[in-house]
Symmetry: C2
Subunit: 650 residues, 2 copies
């Protein structure tokens, strides 16, 4: 799974209808489609050229590099997603294709271990000369993640060995020793990937290299300036003023050493990728200063700069954070990839801290912003996930240029689709966290997982219709009795959880947001957790002006929204009175199998249809209107129309 | 006055404390300051180089052109403002300075009449080769306006003759005849200026040339494309993608012939400048198709795309219109120059139509967006006039890059300060409109004006404390009785106007929004118009989502706003109950002499200070708070802080 290595988790398979459906979609639709895209076989999409770049770099084809400078990472993310699929279900044809890609990647590797098709094909003399802008280490990181995942899924070492040779090369090039480059990447990713590689191989140099990249970051004089000067001031990018990516250190979280940073800032994906690596390393090293930085920056992100959907990065400019309590709904960025990265960061915080709050945020991002990134048919994707859209305004107002009213088939910068695919394929790895004091159940997802703790092998079989229903049944699978603590997360959205063991009520012992059960377990023990899911209103912090006077709805982990298709245009006229009953109803059509929400709301229509402004306006006509809310993740599956998460409190 | 030529208006002097104070500010502060700026003598401001460019072009100094490609227009606008000041009050020192500038301008004129320092100094071979982007005709237009105004103010012909030689040159270069360029300007301005030059000189060729520029606009194949190809695809600008100004025809209102255009679109200043010229010509020519276009486009602008302040152009991108009912408050553009241009368009519509609604909009723009463009001390200016500011958010969110929390001293692109200065200096010319059927009083401004209608010379002396008080006294000045119709505008904000003639109530005969008085006037006749000014709430159109559920306040022509300095931070928490009394109070400090507004409002503060989101939020604590509103034009005169025009209706 992205960045997670849990030696105690031996095997996991998901059976829940919700997630096994999504995983089937990734297997049957997304991964095959992305394969076509990587090979430029999708007629209406921008060509990717990603596989072609490897072919050319491997000497198997003539041509030039084309695509984004980080195009290689799309191939790596595809391989990583394939690995997770293969881990769950053998698929000889898919594995053969992946093996061919891996042979291609290996053939593109240079004799010294270097591997990047852009620089190999276009600028071999410029390797490592522009870390601020050029993504070599970012691409390396994605390759390492793929190599680890493929090895763990198939036992095959080819890609892992390619990765080790590349990592050895990087280790030889970077560091504080004489003759080495004292640089670090513009886009973090290699840090968390090196730690995965370390855990897969036991090679301490990879952990040390990750530590070097994290500690070196933000030191002065700034490496980005040093290398910029060495390049004679040449910049790779040409937008926003040529060298803004070099100058704006905060964009890359390089304005200060990590342990001195106080606020989540800059590019949101860079931030969460860096923090995922930092939290992983803080735990491995027992590094108190890094841990404090992770706690502080997590808090600033999640308590001041996170959308109710779990989206982060409120502005299109630099795909970045803004400031505390500034979360515009209609011009939000809230990139799908940042949601994936938030989950990666949260998972590592769970491993380090064992606090349920991290799982609450992880679940929020998963079920809302990450899932919203993909259409229900798996064929189209959002890069940007706004909380309010008005298509007629978006067409003419360029403040919305980054926001799309419907999902797109593919992107020139195609980071999000494969990131969502690998996240869904690897979801099993986010369900449990095995810590010294307990085995934590962080997410409720039907399936079977096997663990080995203190030399005992045992399994847990979850059955649940989550996220639609809050009843979770967990059966203990083992050959003999064993002792361990099980910690079942009590989600923040659930006011009255109830727990039974073998049909007997168990009083809740709550620790750090988990129901704690420390006992001797016998084969066949059955836990039943009841998490009632009433539809709940959410209110926002007093300083969050974009949600002032407004409410959002949530049921279980799902945030809901209004769509024009159900409620008519001009959603800003709708209000939800404080006493309106919020009624779950069964969806149909594209929402078949889902729970929707209905309520008696109001449409407040000012009187007077023609004038733009009128004096002494009479009170708005408030007429009752039955409102219908759909899960936010499922919006925009019925064509173009208005959408809104926050609506006026009545 | 900008673009107005009213042969029946012989002389006007303003005495009202409000406007004579502003005109004194323009005379004593703004124009001298701008003179220093044009000469690069303001220490902390970006250098203008505008006068230096003329010196160099005149051969009196060595050096290169510097500044914006339309830098010449700053000198012209300064000269035009000076002309209006001189028309009111002789000032030999100022006139001497202006004469020196005019000599310099004349010396920079080329033998064939051409006059533009950018092309003369930097690219003499490229004259007229890039109308879409390069502002030569725009600068010509501003020069023509200055030449006409200076001639009318001083009787001196030097600049007027420079203008005529330049106009003759343009007439020789452009047109549909053989060997002529079939182009038209990227930035309209020359059209309205040529019509002023026509009215000042009687030269029919100038009117025909204006007609050519208006009629040619938007014809196919597009001139901007033709000249772009002739240039080999070279573009002057380098931002937003190189040639966007060529490609985006709607930006310049060149996507369609004017008479086919349906919506106000593109760059707001270009739009109103073009329409001012078109309305002027439609009236002169009695052109029904152009008149229809003016009516239609005025309606689309004012009834669907105008802020309550009279601001137009809702987005920073292209300083342009968005679409119907999309008027964001915090990221508004609402350029000060667009407010000036709206007044110019409105004035010509008044001349053509005699409908009070045009004066209502003109007054709204004048007292709100235009005046807000300048600080109370005349030393700093807004280019952009938002309706909501939250400085702490603006600092980190680049969606607000174009919005400043306080006025700036000068701008690299310094269009707005001199535009505001010339507007204020020429304000007298917006007060009356002399039409065949009546002499219209469009604005209430204390002062004396003399007219000649049907061979009779007479004057009107207005006394009023407008905009603070709605009592207007008008005395008829004449040597003998005369007959004419007087039409006194009944402002849309006034519900119960009352009119007296020589202390006797007169029943109102209302035509097109004016109180109509057709009679024989005797010297000394006294009209008293009472326009009660209760503070009024304003509500917005049902589709205007950015003002949904909100109210703004207006008293007389002034829109009010809340500032943090009076009301504390987090203005989004404030609400105004429907039954709250709105109480005018006397201002003090920077507001001395002004009427402020107070009301018992509410501050609604959600409970729970820490969490970003909370479930089942209890009702907000609503505590009463005395609210204090200040005139919008006077905001941001006390340092940085939040500001808000629309607040929640209680």
């Amino acid at each position: 799974m992205p960045g997670i290595q849990d030696p105690q988790l031996k095997q996991i398979a998901l059976t829940a209808p919700f997630w096994s459906g999504y995983q089937a979609l990734v297997r049957d639709v997304v991964v095959p489609y992305q394969w076509l895209a990587l090979n430029d076989r999708v007629p209406d999409a921008e060509p990717s050229h990603a596989i072609a770049n490897f072919r050319i770099a491997a000497g198997r084809e003539q041509g030039d590099f084309r695509g984004m400078i980080f195009q290689d990472s799309d191939v790596a993310k595809w391989l990583e997603a394939v690995a997770y699929l293969l881990a769950q279900q053998r698929d000889p044809a898919l594995e053969r294709t992946a093996d061919e890609v891996i042979d291609l990647v290996a053939a593109a590797q240079q004799p010294d271990g270097y591997l990047n098709t852009y620089f190999t094909l276009k600028a071999p003399a410029e390797r490592w000369s522009n870390l601020a802008e050029c993504h070599e280490l970012y691409c390396a990181g994605h390759l390492f993640e793929a190599g680890v995942a493929y090895f763990q899924a198939t036992g095959k070492r080819t890609l892992l060995e390619v990765c080790c040779r590349f990592a050895d090369h990087i280790d030889a090039v970077f560091g504080t020793g004489p003759g080495k480059l004292q640089g670090y990447p513009g886009h973090p990713e290699v840090e968390l990937a090196l730690l995965r590689l370390y855990e897969a191989t036991g090679e301490e140099r990879y952990r040390a290299l990750a530590r070097y990249f994290i500690d070196q970051r933000g030191s002065r004089p700034h490496w980005y300036d040093i290398e910029h000067e060495r390049r004679g001031g040449v910049s790779y990018w040409d937008n926003h003023g040529k060298d803004w990516m070099v100058r704006d250190k905060a964009y890359s979280q390089a304005h200060l050493p990590l342990v001195e940073q106080q606020h989540a800032t800059g590019h949101a994906v860079r931030f969460v990728y860096l923090l995922a690596g930092a939290a992983h390393l803080a735990r491995l090293d027992g590094d108190a200063a890094k841990r404090e930085a992770c706690l502080r920056l997590w808090h600033d992100m999640s308590a001041r700069q996170m959308y109710v959907t779990g989206g982060i990065g409120a502005q299109g400019w630099g795909e970045s954070f803004t400031s505390a309590y500034d979360l515009p709904n209609d011009s939000a960025y809230a990139e799908s990839c940042a949601g994936v990265g938030l989950m990666m960061f949260a998972k590592r915080m769970l491993q380090m801290e064992g606090e349920a709050g991290y799982a609450d945020a992880m679940e929020r991002a998963l079920y809302n912003v990450v899932l919203a990134g993909m259409s229900l048919d798996g064929k189209a994707f959002f890069y940007v996930n706004p909380l309010e859209t008005v298509p007629r305004a978006m067409a003419a107002n360029h403040a919305y240029d980054h926001v799309k009213p419907t999902r797109q088939r593919w992107f020139g910068c195609a980071c999000c689709p494969p990131n969502i695919a690998r996240l869904i394929a690897s979801l099993g790895h986010y369900v449990y966290t095995s810590r010294a004091e307990a085995l934590h159940v962080d997410l409720y997802v039907g399936g079977e997982a096997w663990f080995e703790r203190d030399g005992v092998r045992f399994g847990l079989r979850q059955r649940t219709d989550y996220p639609w229903d809050g009843r979770v049944e967990i059966e203990v699978l083992a050959e003999q009795a064993f002792s361990t603590a099980l910690a079942l997360r009590l989600p923040d959205w659930c006011g009255q959880p109830r727990l039974q063991l073998n049909d007997e009520d168990v009083p809740l012992q709550v620790r750090k947001g988990y129901a704690w059960l420390e006992r001797e377990w016998r084969p066949g023990d059955r836990l039943r957790l009841e998490l009632p899911m009433p539809v709940r209103r959410i209110g926002a912090h007093p300083r969050l002006r974009q949600a002032a006077g407004k409410v959002a709805l949530q049921r279980g982990p799902l945030v809901y929204c209004l769509e024009e298709a159900d409620n008519g245009a001009d959603l800003h006229q709708l209000a939800l009175p404080a006493d309106a009953a919020l009624v779950p109803v069964a969806g149909d059509g594209v929402f078949a199998g889902m729970t929707l929400v209905e309520a008696d709301g109001l449409r407040r229509e000012p009187q007077g249809r023609e004038a733009l402004y009128r004096y002494d306006p009479p009170p708005a006509r408030a007429r009752s209107q039955r409102l219908r809310f759909v899960p936010y993740f499922a919006w925009a599956n019925r064509g173009e129309g208005e959408m809104r998460v926050w609506l006026d409190a009545g």
